[in-house]
């Protein structure tokens, strides 16, 4: 087996519902254009406030995926 290499891409997932829906939204969107997604790490958690309530959550994700052999 050859030595695998991974790439890490950074995504911001968003959701009005909460932190986990924002994570899941971001990963699903990344999976539409990237293959072999392997792990994620949560970075910054932020959000927008409208009329004194959370309007949506913004979660920065670092997503690792395996590069295919060339």
């Amino acid at each position: 087996m050859t030595d695998r290499t991974y790439r890490v891409t950074e995504i911001v997932g968003t959701s009005p519902e909460g932190v986990e829906p924002a994570i899941r939204n971001g990963i699903r969107r990344a999976a539409q254009t990237l293959r072999h997604l392997d792990w994620f790490e949560v970075g910054e958690v932020r959000g927008r406030i409208v009329d004194g309530e959370v309007a949506h959550f913004q979660v920065t994700l670092r997503i690792g995926f395996r590069l295919e052999d060339t």
Copy 2:
């Protein structure tokens, strides 16, 4: 339009239920005394343990709000 200035205040929201309720509690309380709340950033997430179970979550929030023109 003049150049806007924002202030950032730091709040610790708490809840026995979870991280998001603690965030929403903290922002609602801040909205009672501050106007023009615009965004938040989650800092430290901590909690108190009683009898081997989470008793409540404590979420530090930096909350940004627009200062009115003087």
Copy 3:
């Protein structure tokens, strides 16, 4: 009353369901072998991705507990 001393141990709790279940799982497991658990702090939040969806969440926790007098 004597001056209390605490120890901090580091645990990674996991759950397929979300961040809070992972926190609660980790603390319950720690409570099986440690007494006087007092507080926790959330460190890194990561997770494993399988077939483009989150397979499980991994939450690093620093858990503080009071040492008994000797």
Copy 4:
């Protein structure tokens, strides 16, 4: 002379022109409502992009000011 105490407040100054105008705008606005401003520290420098150009700069400042004796 008594021992002085300072408070640190956090401000985000903005400007379409650059980092220094954003700093100066933030400090001038703070000076309208706070007295005895003494020093500042630059934190995060961010900005908004519109049509592929910087629309405005946002500079987070920690501003220290001396508290008056009570």
Copy 5:
């Protein structure tokens, strides 16, 4: 009991005598204008040097206090 909310304010206490007097000075000054002070965290410890000796210590403190219900 409702869910409590705390605010965190940042103070720089000073003293020619040492780090702990600077901490105590800063907290006493904060207690003159804020109620329900609950905890503090020490940030930066700096100082001024005059004629090759420490002239005074400057200790940055984050002080947490409970907000009253509105």
Copy 6:
């Protein structure tokens, strides 16, 4: 409206003239190949020195842009 997802790319803009021209150069270059640029954050600011003078500034930028729906 669906939940938006953003990607963050990292760029180093350079300029012999200063920090802001380096920021603007980097963003313009990124705008040639990426659409929907939305915000930037300044990271490291470095530079090269030649003959005791700044030869050029190098500013690391994290640039966020909205991903189109697929």
Copy 7:
């Protein structure tokens, strides 16, 4: 001589008197159950405030000790 290995444990020492008594209390308590203590590093310094005065200091210590050969 074989290559030594050390373990690092994390302790929170407390004292109503100050930072150094809190450090010394934490190390003495650790020395009751661990052998070959070798060095310490001070992490977070926090404290509890009661009636506007410091009630006790809490100092997080990382303590290194040599593991015995097995």
Copy 8:
């Protein structure tokens, strides 16, 4: 000469042999699909343990490369 712009990509190189082979593997793989690689910075160094021995090293690299003029 125009002002150059660089992009930074993040790679995880792996090797059962050590940190440097993992660095070299990651850079060689990146060089298969990216041109004008210019510098790298080592981030996190981790690894997998199997049967009490290091099975492979995982080295996170930030790799900078020059963007071509468009």
Copy 9:
């Protein structure tokens, strides 16, 4: 399958020969008293200098291992 929990312990491995031997020494020593070692992360890399040459390397490792079900 139940949700696994891991514990993270901190070790300093040493070697006169280099960084990797220090990592391998630390992990082998940990494997003598802990089971189910799963991963490691390299923290601080330091060393002692004697007569202008490196006498030994000291590598701080965070080692994760799976806790058995109770």
Copy 10:
């Protein structure tokens, strides 16, 4: 060619005019007593406020220079 070694020195450049003049002032002063200055990195950016306006900027610089062969 032998393997080059560099030293990094830390300077605080100041200017009433802005961040870049403070950088250029600091580097010019360093160049009066050090040879082979090669690069700089900007650290903290602070400043002094007098009468509600920036009196001068203080920019901490790490400056790298090549050591001559001995």
Copy 11:
């Protein structure tokens, strides 16, 4: 008045008695060979343990001093 430049040097002061004596020892020693010492910042606080008691404190200090005009 010309624009002042400062240099920052890093010192580790030690004392068997405590953190402040270690700070004062380090600054006094620095003052024997450097002129115009102006400020200090406390970095890492560590110490050596012998027979289960603190043998001496080691405090890393960054000390700023004004460079004379050339």
Copy 12:
């Protein structure tokens, strides 16, 4: 015995061969002009890439040495 004071200097060692040769090169060069070198800490590890291969490693070292009594 008087209380010892140490100074910390920052060096970048380089080598085309790897991280440890870069460390050893940097320390040997420092030992040519400084006496009583005592310990080192590895900071940033970077390198230059030429033709898709590592051309040389650059390792930032903080080196501590004991100051002689004056």
